[in-house]
Symmetry: C2
Subunit: 254 residues, 2 copies
């Protein structure tokens, strides 16, 4: 039965899409059946796999125009499917406002396909609006990418508060998968300071895997490929393989 992991953080540019794409690909390479859902109107996870944005997508499924099964595309990688997104999704934020249970639309429509996959990964936009709330409501756990920078710290307590509210009112089963340090640069004092501070405050809720800053990770999307296929010997690929192993282990402990 598919474990739904939501990749979210309202701070922009912290590595949500990079984590969603590369974790999904590494789970698929480990022969897990995976579905990646792009619920960000920017559609970066969609183009990160070289997929055309003109397809029917998560927007059409959310507003009930088409069933979710009909927007699932193959990624080109065995055992990894993708539900794309595009700019139409901006409309969903306004259109969903009038639905009764507007925060649980995604959870409702996912019921149809959830059992086909072992992992369902959702890439969220940089906000705590209705699209992210839908993902948190549909999720079993949330993985928080955290850039090792000062502003990233600032949003963390706000995000933890939102998780608590969602757990109380929309999804009592929601747990924290963990905080993932991204773009860690061992040469700067700032990176280590932020890491120490977070480990101090959120002890036990930080994932063991740390993603280093690695230019191969930012080059890969321009080739429409996850880093494990673009450069499997890079530090970026190694880190996301480790992350996939850690996520599989956590799921077993369940």
């Amino acid at each position: 039965m598919g474990k739904v992991i939501c990749i979210a953080n309202q701070k922009g540019g912290v590595g949500k899409t990079t984590t969603a794409i590369n974790l999904s690909a590494c789970l698929a390479v480990a022969e897990k059946k995976v579905l990646l859902i792009d619920i960000d109107p920017q559609g970066n996870a969609t183009t990160g796999f070289g997929i055309n944005k003109d397809n029917k997508n998560i927007y059409n499924a959310l507003i009930g125009e088409i069933s979710i099964a009909n927007v699932i595309l193959s990624s080109g990688i065995d055992s990894l499917d993708i539900i794309p997104s595009n700019i139409d999704l901006i409309g969903a934020e306004i259109e969903l406002v009038n639905y009764d249970s507007r925060e649980s639309r995604l959870r409702e429509i996912l019921k149809e396909v959830k059992k086909r996959y072992e992992f369902i990964i959702i890439d969220c936009p940089p906000s705590l609006g209705l699209l992210t709330l839908n993902s948190l409501t549909a999720a079993d756990s949330i993985l928080i990418p955290l850039q090792c920078e000062y502003y990233a710290l600032e949003g963390l307590s706000q995000l933890m508060n939102t998780i608590k509210l969602v757990k109380e009112s929309l999804n009592s089963g929601l747990i924290l998968e963990g905080i993932l340090f991204t773009m860690f640069d061992s040469r700067t004092v700032l990176s280590s300071q932020v890491m120490q501070e977070v480990k101090g405050h959120f002890n036990g809720r930080v994932l063991n895997t740390v993603i280093p800053r690695n230019v191969r990770l930012s080059e890969a999307p321009s080739y429409g490929q996850p880093v494990i296929f673009y450069d499997c010997r890079s530090k970026g690929a190694d880190a996301y393989i480790d992350l996939a192993k850690e996520i599989i282990l956590n799921a077993k402990k369940g």
Copy 2:
């Protein structure tokens, strides 16, 4: 009469806040009278100056609870005032929806104070929602920070399209101040590729100043200071001083 410059890009983490803070500070150091408005619920520009988030802020002024003049704070730097923000601003996206001219609330309330300043700089959230639309409607020009990375390219044509729509329906005077390359890393091929591509497509609309990746820029916010006060000899400070000069020159040509 104050020139209003909106710092916007829906892509997250591209240097909007860093540009808003450091451009404002460098304009103030050049003895221009400046107002910085933080219209992002994350409140990063507010904490980047070490300002407490518990003050009355742009949210209270937007919903008409208090006049805009009463939420202006001193930054601690001569000739630079700040209007802070905080998480309450998330409520404005929903509350403003019911106002008649919901996109022009900011333009309306700014009329009261606009003539006190030579420059008004607005830091936007990573989205094209109502808060960014309000800023584009109030602005004389938009400055687009662009990280030299692949995903940053993707959002550019969407943003240009939004600017065109705002110009047609809400603010016919809106012009492009320019595209500002940020976090430019001369060691990577990707940075130069993105720069070439953008210069090719948007010839003549790119600012001459380029902001290099510089760790002093990301350290400064943890001290609540703009980089020109944190480390005035850094490459980051030099770049933002150059930017301020270029913006002043553009305003004179006006």
